[in-house]
Amino acid sequence: MIRLDGVTKRFGPLPVLRGIDLALAPGRVTAVVGPNASGKSTLIKCILGLASPDAGRIVLPDGRDVREPAARGAIGYMPQAARFPENLTGHEVLAMLDALRPEVAPDDTLLERFALAAQLHKPVRTLSGGTRQKLSAVVAFRYRPSLLVLDEPSAGLDPLATSIFKAAVLAARDAGTTVLLTSHVVSELETMADDVAFLLDGTIRFAGPVAALLARTGARSLEAALAQLMRAPADAIPDAALHHHHDEPTLRVVNGERR
């Protein structure tokens, strides 16, 4: 489980995250959604240890703070735009990352499913955007992460690669991995997300299973529910969902029922 306790972050005078309490359950895909400038990318940067919160803590599955270098061994990260050193081959990129954690035997499953081996001897600069994105997915899954952070993952993947990728995500989830997903593609959220964390103006306005979101908003699809949240976020959610307890995260996703 990933736990965020009272995470705040401001850039200069501007508060971006205003006390985020959130728990991401293992074995579930949590979609972090929110309009532009809601603080979503800052939240993800904090979870990855790329940015330091001004206050609060982010605790990884093994109980360590994400800012401890060794703790980040638990993370598999697939960024929105994958870029690798242009003059290195795919093999060299993977060899470099392998050497950073020699204690983990790399998992080649996704590499084989994507049939990427033939492309790996070419310099990265000659690879297509989709191939780079596949390489990026391979990197994210390669070191058997207990937390997968997927930031707009399927942008640039063709339909076949997308389905292979989705299957890999769901298999990792079923094996107990905590998955954090952001996406603008609603169908992707609908097929993958178990839980939703809705972020607006730097606060979590809803966190819970997709079914609970549908029930609360009265919407029939996730797309309609999200649209409703973004249009009228304050009235869309009954008080219970927004109630803040001092000693407890706003809403726990931990015990969300499996579908």
Binding site: K45, L48, G49, L50, A51, S52, P69, A70, A71, R72, G73, I75, Y77, P79, A81, A82, R83, F84, P85, E86, N87, L88, E92, V93, A95, M96, L97, A99, L100, R101, P102, E103, V104, A105, D107, D108, T109, E112, P123, V139, Y143, R144, S146, A171, A172, A175, G176, T177
Partner: protein
Amino acid sequence: MTAAVTPVRAAAGPPGAVALARTVAEHQWRDVVRSRWLIAYALVLAVATELLLRLGGSGPSALLSLLNVVLLLVPLVALVLGTASLHGAREFTELLLVQPIPRRALFTGLWLGHAVPLAVATLLAIALPFAVERAIDADTAPALALFLVVAVLLVAAFTALAFLVATAVVDRARGLGAAILLWLVLGLVYDGVVLAVATAFRDWPLEKPMLVLMVLNPIDLARTLLLLRLDVAALMGYTGAVFRMAFGTAAGMSVAIAALVAWVALPWWLAARAFDRRDF
């Protein structure tokens, strides 16, 4: 293929910071060595050295001419390549930052990955023409050796300065602008300012301020150091002359080398600290 989710642990534990930095440096090095900019830089410098050797005759006089080329070219290339490539690799640097590697080890690896290939290219581009032209005699050898040491120190210092600029100035275009501005100031404008100050205050005792001004510019330091060795006071300029009067040749060279080393260490430390604290 087994798809077990539990990490399979080999006998060895996780690598230490030095091993991690070396891994980053080695791969960075490969990337830099294959870049056409580094190759172009090495060719330009090698051709310049070769031409000066053919036109200038003896080793020491060719070194003297080469001095002005190196003092402008090396800082420019180290600053621009370092800043541009650190900014250009931002996404991959972020991916590396998410790996289990301390920031300081990553910074060290990236810095070595840039400074080492640039230093090797500089050494080869200068030393090879000297070897090919058989211009290394007893007179030339010690001067050439010091020349190469100074060139490497300049590479190290200006790569560290480039990393400081790239870490402090997040915007890509502004970072490059700041790097070029720094080069213009240290390489070209500085001497003019020093001269203006010296002229304006010529009735005052200026020795100490001049010494301070010289130590504050690594290019000035490098120039004075090499001119002391090549024993051409006429070309030394105001700060250099004051410097020699204050320290004498031998002590002056030691002081200048120590100051140049400080010019590597201080920007490196500032850049590493900024890298440690920065939000990406």
